[in-house]
């Protein structure tokens, strides 16, 4: 079992329903011979260059611990799937990245939570926040 990261880009025209179906379909392939550690939906975003005449794509990023057959199975399905614009599976060689990003996100959220509480407490806190932004 190895830790893999799979990212794929779905056709934006599928809309919410189609994207969820795709996520479910590929999740199923992974769980047959592995387990999913996390699923991140980066959502609809502008691509740096058009792929199959699409300028936007729905990005899904998955981290999974799987048998070596899984990337192969995934690739076969991605290739058959015409609504999949692009895919990439790599061995997770940088697990610290996600940890660090999570840590930063929680730190940021905590900071934001503190800011929203502060203005209610004192008048001056509210004005300093306005100056900062």
């Amino acid at each position: 079992m190895k830790l893999y990261e799979t990212t794929f880009i779905m056709d934006p025209q599928l809309l919410e329903e189609g994207w969820e179906k795709a996520v479910a379909r590929y999740s199923d392939i992974i769980t047959r011979n592995g387990s999913i550690k996390r699923t991140e939906r980066w959502g609809l975003r502008r691509m740096a260059y058009p792929i199959q005449k699409r300028t936007q794509g729905y990005y899904v990023h998955m981290v999974h611990e799987s048998a070596p057959s899984v990337p192969r199975d995934l690739e076969r399905q991605f290739m058959l799937d015409e609504t999949c614009l692009r895919y990439l599976t790599v061995v997770a060689d940088n697990p610290m990245y996600l940890e660090e990003m999570d840590r930063r996100r929680t730190a940021r959220e905590e900071a934001e939570a503190n800011v929203t509480i502060a203005p209610a407490a004192t008048e001056s806190a509210g004005s300093s926040e306005a100056a900062a932004s």
Partner: protein, 108 residues
């Protein structure tokens, strides 16, 4: 009596080859130094961490490519060989996922 050249503070401090900041014409900081051959020295990424170099980290990778989308050489980025190698694969992966352009037109 022969007039000896008295060592000044400036002479004493120079010691050895290489340019130092007194050789810089004012306002030309960032150029020069040994082996730089006039190449513009980029920002020093001293606080860059190895784990930050990742194909998902689009914001960081953008700092290492030109407007056209080409990678800066190591002499410009000034990062270590290991970092530059990781950076190269990260940029290539990001390009595949259309997070970064292979070629970008300069107008935008």
């Amino acid at each position: 009596m022969a007039e000896y050249h008295r060592k000044t503070e400036r002479d004493r401090d120079r010691g050895g080859r290489g340019r130092d900041d007194r050789d810089e014409q004012d306002g030309k900081e960032g150029y020069g130094g040994k082996g730089m051959r006039g190449q513009r020295r980029g920002r020093r990424f001293t606080d860059l961490k190895l784990y930050e170099i990742d194909y998902r980290n689009e914001r960081l990778l953008r700092k290492f490519v030109t407007e056209r989308g080409k990678l800066f050489p190591r002499r410009t980025t000034g990062i270590s060989a290991l970092f530059q190698r990781r950076l190269t694969t990260a940029v290539k992966r990001a390009r595949h996922l259309a997070l970064l352009p292979y070629v970008a037109e300069t107008f935008k």
